[in-house]
């Protein structure tokens, strides 16, 4: 074979490789996402802050000044029995009524399309993940829960004021986190109580279509913290409960139906 013929064959092969127009394009990448919005309501209306306009089940007149909390382990339960844990990018989300950027969580994960029959999450941070120093930067940093009281982070700070028995406006700090069992209060702690709990959102089934983004709202219905199954009376529990496991337990038990979902 002459040198010229070899060159022609090579040129033909190279040209074919570079200029072929019959290659199949890659299939378009299909991605589904969800965006979780956080809303706050009281008795069905959007929560108004800094005004003494609410009355809880115990008859306490109260206002809410600010709410900060963590949720984690958000799980989407598929109707086929599989579960999808939102954890690819970050599995703990902080919400702060004073920080609008925290009110919308654009979930990083590409979520399989399909029918989901319910949504659940952990209110607060579970024991295995609630480690001190994991949030060195504000605003999450400022949720730290003192080492002496169990460490890690507050699950929630709900700060407000109520009209107390003496008709004085008194602050309340409805703070939840790791509880303590005391041998002699308030100095001798014998054990800690992990108060984080699972929330299963009622009526939370939804379809996630291919190539779509689903907007979901997690709604905190504030009045629910103070009712069902326990009537929470600020005059009994007073203004601070971080070192009062009994009060925090009441708050946790009331908290199971605090959240609802909106689409």
């Amino acid at each position: 074979m002459s040198k010229n013929i070899i060159n022609i064959i090579l040129l033909t092969l190279v040209s074919t490789a570079f200029f072929s127009c019959k290659e199949k394009p890659d299939p378009p990448e299909v991605e589904q996402h969800i965006v979780i919005n956080f809303d706050f309501k009281n008795n069905g209306e959007y929560l108004e802050f800094d005004t003494m306009m609410y009355i809880n089940e115990a008859g306490n007149h109260y206002m809410v000044n600010e709410i900060q909390f963590f949720i984690s382990d958000v799980i989407l339960h598929n109707s086929d029995g599989s579960e999808f844990l939102i954890d690819d990018w970050k599995d703990i989300h902080y919400v702060d009524t004073d920080v609008p950027a925290t009110h919308n969580w654009e979930v990083f994960d590409n979520i399989p399309a399909g029918e989901y029959e319910k949504v659940s999450f952990t209110f607060g941070i579970s024991e295995e993940k609630n480690h001190s120093f994991m949030f060195p930067n504000p605003p999450e940093r400022d949720m730290f829960w003192p080492e002496f009281l169990g460490g890690g982070y507050h699950y929630m700070k709900l700060n407000g004021k109520w009209l107390d028995d003496n008709q004085q406006i008194s602050p309340f700090d409805f703070h939840m986190g790791i509880g303590q069992i005391y041998y002699s209060y308030p100095d001798s702690i014998t054990d800690f109580v992990q108060n984080a709990y699972e929330v299963v959102l009622p009526n939370s089934s939804f379809d996630l279509e291919e190539n779509s983004t689903k907007n979901i709202s997690f709604i905190m219905n504030v009045e629910k913290w103070f009712e069902s199954p326990h009537t929470y009376d600020h005059n009994i529990w007073k203004g601070y409960i971080m070192q009062n496991q009994e009060a925090m337990n009441v708050a946790c038990e009331n908290g199971h139906d605090v959240f609802t979902i909106g689409f």
Binding site: D50, N65, E66, S132, F133, P136, N137, P138, R141, D142, F144, W145, P146, E147, F148, L149, G151, Y153, N159, G160, K161, D164, N166, Q168, I169, S170, P171, F172, D173, H175, P186, D187, K238, G239, Y240, I241, M242, Q243
Partner: protein
């Protein structure tokens, strides 16, 4: 190959040396450094000269000098301190004698403050006016303020421009020998961002290097518990070694009836939110024993006064922050022993290495000195 003229020397490229902050144990990893003023070795060096040079005021007569360091004294954690010979009781005044409206704030770990500077956070990244967004603004504001240097920016920059040595330092730091107030501000801001306190006894305790005394430990428990003194919600602790949230609180100093809520420099006058009436920045407690007088108006001279206030003398108002849940008991009602323990703990936040670090002190000589 093509050039036929004489070779011109290439201009020296402007390549300042980047400066990297080392994050101490437990400290935030996000800095508040504006994009247009990255920290450089040369910028910091220039900033240190300017910080200590009384000619920053635009004057050269020995009786008329004023620099940042006139009031911000390293040995007092960059405040003037209550023992200052001229600023009696720690109350500063400008070069003309006009009192500064509020007492000084700590100049510590400011590179991690993203929630605004000054007692009300007026200088903040959220300020719609780009001239009031970071430490750089505080420099030129200090030059022109009647209650500080009472100068003008042209005078200040011309004075510095005419001091031998400074133009070369500006060129090294910013690529031009021309002195501008903008670059003066940038340089000093860079220096201020290096003022990091992270080696107090408490820091060493956090790192497992030392143990606290029984009294200090008892004070630490008081500091971080609601049943105790409950300082930590605003002033940090183990999980927030800044010892401040850098946020703003009405901490129950005044009632409605004393006219105290007419202060044009409280947080309300930044946000317009009535809940911010009488609210001021929670200061860091690092080196706090050296930074009296205390509160925005300096009403307390000593740490004991402050502890007594939080223990017994809180005053209710509709604007008091909800974290002040002891307000209707007038305070946390500490016993004398508890007060002593709390004070002992707070004193573990004194960082002598910071107070004597030669890198933060005055330069041996200024650029025009041999």
């Amino acid at each position: 190959m093509i050039s036929c003229g004489e070779d011109k020397p290439e201009p020296e490229p402007f390549q300042p040396t980047p400066y990297q902050i080392e994050v101490p144990y437990g400290f935030p990893t996000i800095f508040n450094i504006p994009e247009d003023n990255p920290m450089t070795v040369e910028g910091i060096e220039l900033g240190r000269y300017l910080f200590y040079d009384g000619r920053m005021s635009g004057r050269t007569h020995p009786d008329s000098l004023m620099s940042c360091a006139t009031c911000h004294i390293q040995a007092n954690s960059f405040e003037c301190g209550i023992n200052h010979p001229e600023y009696i009781g720690g109350f500063t005044h400008g070069i003309t004698g006009k009192p500064t409206p509020h007492v000084m704030l700590p100049m510590i770990n400011l590179v991690w403050n993203s929630y605004g500077y000054l007692w009300n956070g007026f200088v903040s990244k959220d300020n719609p006016n780009p001239n009031y967004r970071n430490i750089e603004a505080l420099v030129w504001m200090g030059i022109v303020a009647e209650h500080e240097m009472n100068s003008d920016t042209n005078l200040a920059k011309e004075t510095i421009q005419n001091i031998p040595g400074y133009p070369e330092l500006f060129k090294k730091a910013f690529g031009s020998e021309t002195v501008t107030v903008k670059n003066m501000s940038k340089a000093i801001a860079q220096f201020i961002r290096t003022l990091i306190s992270a080696n107090s006894k408490f820091d060493k305790y956090m790192r497992g290097e030392v143990q606290l005394t029984q009294s200090e430990l008892s004070g630490f428990v008081l500091f971080t518990t609601e049943e105790g003194a409950d300082c930590f919600h605003c002033h940090g602790g183990f999980g927030n070694p800044m010892f401040t949230t850098n946020l703003f609180y009405n901490n129950g100093k005044d009632s409605l009836f004393t006219g105290q809520f007419e202060d044009l420099r409280d947080r309300y006058h930044v946000t317009g939110d009535p809940m911010d009436l009488g609210a001021y920045k929670a200061t860091t407690l690092r080196n706090i024993e050296l930074t009296g007088p205390y509160m925005h108006d300096g009403r307390f001279a000593t740490l004991d006064d402050v502890i007594n206030f939080y223990s017994h003398d809180l005053v209710w108002s509709p604007y008091v922050n909800p974290l002040m849940h002891h307000i209707n008991n007038q305070g946390v009602q500490l016993t004398p022993q508890e007060k002593a323990d709390l004070k002992a703990f707070i004193q573990t936040l004194r960082d002598d290495e910071f107070l004597t670090n030669p890198d933060f002190g005055p330069p041996d000589k200024f650029p025009d000195e041999e």
